[in-house]
């Protein structure tokens, strides 16, 4: 209960902002022009693209050079939550859909459905929060499963686990392996060596060949006399362009041993794994003044931290200072960067993506999606030749 104040704050805010999107969905969102792909795109040097899901069931490939929608594929299911991870060659988007239950793999070059996993079976119902990841060789897809056995007159919550799927199994794939895993996992990612990171109350690292799991970053379990228990909530596995697995947390720094929360200073921090080296770090990066949903370090400079919800903010990590902040036109749940780190893309909530200059936080423009809102979908950005 040490978090009471912030909890109320967060709750108020999310109630307000969520409502907006729900209502927008009900009244139908504004129209935008979709340019579908003219056949035979010329081969070109790698350019930035974004993949994002919006309602009711669209997977969009957006050219971030022209800000045009190249292709809009249909998912066989419903969009929510629309958590996206890209195959290492950035051709297949793996999407958690159908109300946190099924995973679809869509070839974004031709909209072909190349993979599906219907996680529930028999009388076992399975949900995954937003926790899907892919191995660096693209051969294995991982999900974190929350299973419940539905018996004729009662339910039985089962232990949570990591399920491993072979992507080559194609449609209606079944897990080839499962490993016991902690509860309360939200996001996951793999590093260059294939270690699977699980964003749980603490961050864990699993060897997906053996299921062996170790603690990577102590978070909720951390007991530091001068800080309150950390709180972290994210359902957005962003970070690939900065080569990081990252999530933000809130904490209060007490003035002294009395742990007086009214005199404590509220801070934002991040927990981060470098996906090349596997190096883990966690630190506070700035004052907590408003609620923020997602944040990332800038590609190429991890001392620059950016985060978003009602404002877009930039922090100097080592000095724990907010450097810049701009008010947004509406809330955006999720941010991401262009691969060179020069631009920021804000997505989620409604059906428009906003583009900002990463140096000046000047707004550069918008991309309108056709259809409903992106809600909690994850925008994935990558550079490739198409």
């Amino acid at each position: 209960m040490r978090m009471t104040k912030l909890m109320i704050f967060l709750t108020n805010l999310s109630a307000r902002s969520l409502l907006i999107s729900t209502v927008m969905l009900m009244v139908g969102c504004s129209q935008a022009v979709t340019k579908t792909d003219p056949d035979g795109y010329p081969k070109a040097a790698p350019k930035d693209y974004m993949v994002i899901v919006n309602r009711p069931n669209r997977v969009n490939l957006i050219d971030l050079t022209t800000n045009q929608i190249v292709r809009s594929c249909q998912l066989p299911g419903t969009a929510a939550p629309g958590t996206v991870v890209m195959s290492p060659d950035n051709r297949i988007a793996y999407i958690l859909a159908d109300h946190f239950s099924n995973v679809y793999g869509v070839n974004i070059d031709n909209c072909e459905l190349v993979f599906s996993a219907f996680q529930s079976y028999a009388n076992i119902r399975i949900r995954s929060l937003a926790s899907i990841a892919i191995s660096p060789d693209g051969k294995s897809l991982y999900t974190h499963q929350n299973p419940v056995r539905l018996l004729s007159d009662h339910f039985e919550v089962m232990d949570t686990r990591i399920a491993v799927y072979n992507t080559a199994d194609g449609l209606k794939a079944q897990p080839v392996k499962t490993y016991p895993a902690p509860r309360q996992v939200t996001i996951m990612a793999t590093d260059k060596n294939g270690t699977l990171y699980l964003g749980a109350p603490d961050i864990y690292a699993m060897n997906p060949n053996t299921g062996e799991t170790r603690l990577a970053i102590k978070s909720r379990g951390l007991e530091t006399p001068h800080f309150s228990q950390r709180d972290s909530l994210t359902v957005w596995p962003i970070g690939s362009v900065s080569n990081e697995f990252i999530r933000m947390y809130t904490t209060a720094r007490y003035q002294d041993e009395t742990q007086d929360i009214d005199k404590a200073k509220w801070l934002w921090g991040y927990e981060r794994i470098d996906l090349t080296t596997g190096e883990a770090e966690s630190r506070e990066f700035g004052p907590l003044e408003v609620v923020l949903f997602t944040g990332m370090t800038r590609p190429g400079d991890k001392n620059q931290m950016y985060a978003v919800l009602t404002q877009l903010k930039k922090y100097d990590v080592s000095r724990q200072q907010e450097l810049m902040s701009v008010d947004l036109e509406h809330t955006y749940y999720c941010l991401n960067f262009s691969t060179d780190g020069s631009k920021i893309y804000l997505a989620g909530t409604f059906n428009d993506i906003a583009i900002y200059d990463a140096d000046t936080l000047q707004k550069l423009g918008n991309i309108q999606l056709t259809g409903g809102d992106m809600s909690m979908s994850t925008p994935q950005i990558f550079a490739r030749e198409i």
Binding site: M1, T11, N12, R16
Partner: protein, 538 residues
């Protein structure tokens, strides 16, 4: 309000339903309905018991909610077609279960606010862990109004996490190992405090249940409207079913008249639906053991927040003074007072210094008096006597209003309408006046509660954030005479920053004029978003 992001996100989850079971409901006895429709999923055991069902007790509203869930989630069917169970059949089952597996009066006594839809009651939980574990998505009363075996409490935890996976991810859940704590701490706690077998229930089952037919003298108060009194007649049409007629009046002369019907559950749980003038009201009352008093609330079916806190007294020939309207008089003034009672007869005796200057009218239920209070009259509670019956401390004599309290001190209103499915939830406030008492100092022990006073009402920003966001401008309008706040329309407001909705955090101010000095009191009003579902037990 208490819900965090993820809970809401999961709300839309459409479930993989157990569709392999198909049952047919045939109209008939409750036993037959149960045999035809519950058995199959629920397993018959010895002594006519059914798995799960026989190990739980709850209120009528509790049974209604559970049976509704059986229908919604588990597809209880009529024949092979998916026709919802008719209200009539649900009604039969609720009655059957509430009578056999209900709560004793003493078991429901502390949590009647939730049944009466008094939604501004701020719950106090003796156990902090219970409050976060079980009372952050819904009221703690929803839990405390059930009795179960330990195994049944455990099943309930599995149901929660199985059905609402976000229970362990949302704020108040992800700060701990929710599932482990629920099984290891909360389940034993619940089994200890809310066990299936209790002495209270064993005794209540044996007691001869009160007879509730007859005429009832109603007395109550409605925020924003004032004192209310009337008569309700109940004629038993079949066991535990009553036909009702009501004629009532507010202090301002407005009448409230009409008819309806009531059902009594568990021998004391009075539930009625009435059409009074043009509006539909529900009564939720509890009868006492003698069957000569009921108390509870009567509220608008479609605006549960608007209603009368009510008590009903059997008009059984016994003489009683039940109340005085208003219940206070200022020293040195003359005022009209209404005495409300049953079988009122005989001389009227007021405290010394209170002079009856005129008896305007009187019959056996109402006496209208003009009363003059002497200027130097001692401040305090006084008794009223009519014939042989006496109302203790029924009339307050005061000199000055020293301070006011706004009631409720904290209320929630909700935006609504605007083409959406959800109505606005209004908030109504009352000003309770206090006299400083003999020592002349407010805030001391001898302060005297005067009662509800007419006041002038206004709102202002509760804090700097609300000021900055112009909450007063956007959140809605306070009626300055009645204290009723009507929230603004639902939906995003493009005129607000981030197009947020018309939520707001307001201070509510009541002002009473004392000569040329004004006395004020302050409360808080949170204007927030709609609730998307409004089950009978929040």
């Amino acid at each position: 309000m208490r819900k965090h992001l993820l809970i809401s996100l999961f709300h839309g989850v459409v479930l993989t339903l157990l569709s392999s079971f198909a049952f047919s409901i045939q109209a008939g006895s409750p036993e037959q309905i149960i045999r035809n429709n519950c058995v199959g999923c629920h397993i018959p055991e010895s002594d006519d018991k059914l798995s799960r069902i026989s190990y739980q007790r709850r209120t009528p509203e509790g049974w209604e909610m559970t049976i509704a869930r059986m229908q919604l989630m588990h597809h209880v069917r009529i024949s092979d077609q998916e026709i919802p169970i008719s209200d009539e059949i649900i009604q039969k089952l609720v009655k059957y279960f509430a009578d056999r597996q209900g709560l004793a009066p003493s078991e429901s006594a502390n949590y009647r606010y939730i049944l009466e839809r008094r939604l501004n009651v701020v719950e106090q939980h003796p156990d902090a862990e219970f409050a976060v574990m079980c009372a952050r998505c819904h009221s703690g009363a929803r839990v405390a109004l059930q009795r179960r075996t330990e195994q049944e409490w455990r099943h309930l935890v599995h149901f929660h996490l199985g059905q609402f996976p976000t229970s362990e991810y949302s704020a108040g859940g992800r700060d701990r190992n929710w599932f482990e704590v629920a099984l290891n701490n909360t389940v034993p706690y619940l089994a200890k405090h809310y066990p299936l077998k209790t002495q209270a229930w064993t005794e209540w089952q044996k007691v001869k249940k009160p007879q509730l037919e007859g005429s009832w003298r109603l007395i109550g108060n409605q925020p924003g409207k004032g004192d209310f009194q009337g008569v309700m007649t109940a004629i038993e049409t079949e066991k535990d079913n009553y036909k009702l007629s009501v004629s009532g009046y507010y202090a301002n002369g407005d009448s409230l008249t009409g008819e309806g019907s009531a059902i009594v559950y568990t021998g004391y749980e009075w539930r009625s639906t009435l059409t009074l003038d043009t509006q539909v009201f529900n009564q939720v009352m509890a009868a006492n053991g003698h069957g000569d008093e009921m108390s509870g609330r009567m509220f608008l079916r479609d605006h549960e927040e608007t209603g009368i806190q009510l008590s009903a007294t059997k008009m059984d020939g016994k003489s009683r003074v039940l109340g005085v309207m208003p219940n206070h008089i200022k020293a040195g003034t003359e005022q009209t007072l209404r005495l409300v009672g049953t079988a009122l007869a005989g001389d009227i005796v007021l405290a010394k210094g209170l002079m009856i200057t005129d008896t305007v009218s009187r019959d056996s239920e109402n006496i209208l008096l003009k009363v003059k209070a002497a200027k130097d009259l001692a401040v305090g509670n006084t008794d009223i006597k009519v014939g042989n019956s006496r109302l203790m401390n029924g009339l307050v004599v005061y000199d000055q209003v020293s301070h006011l309290e706004v009631e409720p001190s904290y209320a929630v209103a909700r935006v609504g309408d605007n083409g959406g499915a959800t109505r606005k939830t209004l908030a109504s406030f009352q000003a309770v006046g206090y006299s400083a008492g003999v020592d002349g100092k407010p805030g001391t022990e001898d302060d005297l509660r005067i009662g509800y006073l007419p006041a002038q009402w206004s709102v202002r920003a509760f804090n700097a954030q609300a000021e900055k966001d112009q909450d007063v401008h956007f959140a809605g309008k306070m009626n300055k005479n009645t204290g009723i706040f009507t929230p603004a329309a639902a939906g995003p407001n493009p005129k607000r920053k981030y197009s947020t909705n018309n939520a707001g955090n307001l201070a509510v101010i009541a002002t009473v004029q004392q000569g040329d000095k004004s006395v004020t009191g302050t409360g808080q009003l949170l204007v927030t978003v709609q609730r998307w579902n409004n089950p009978p037990i929040r």
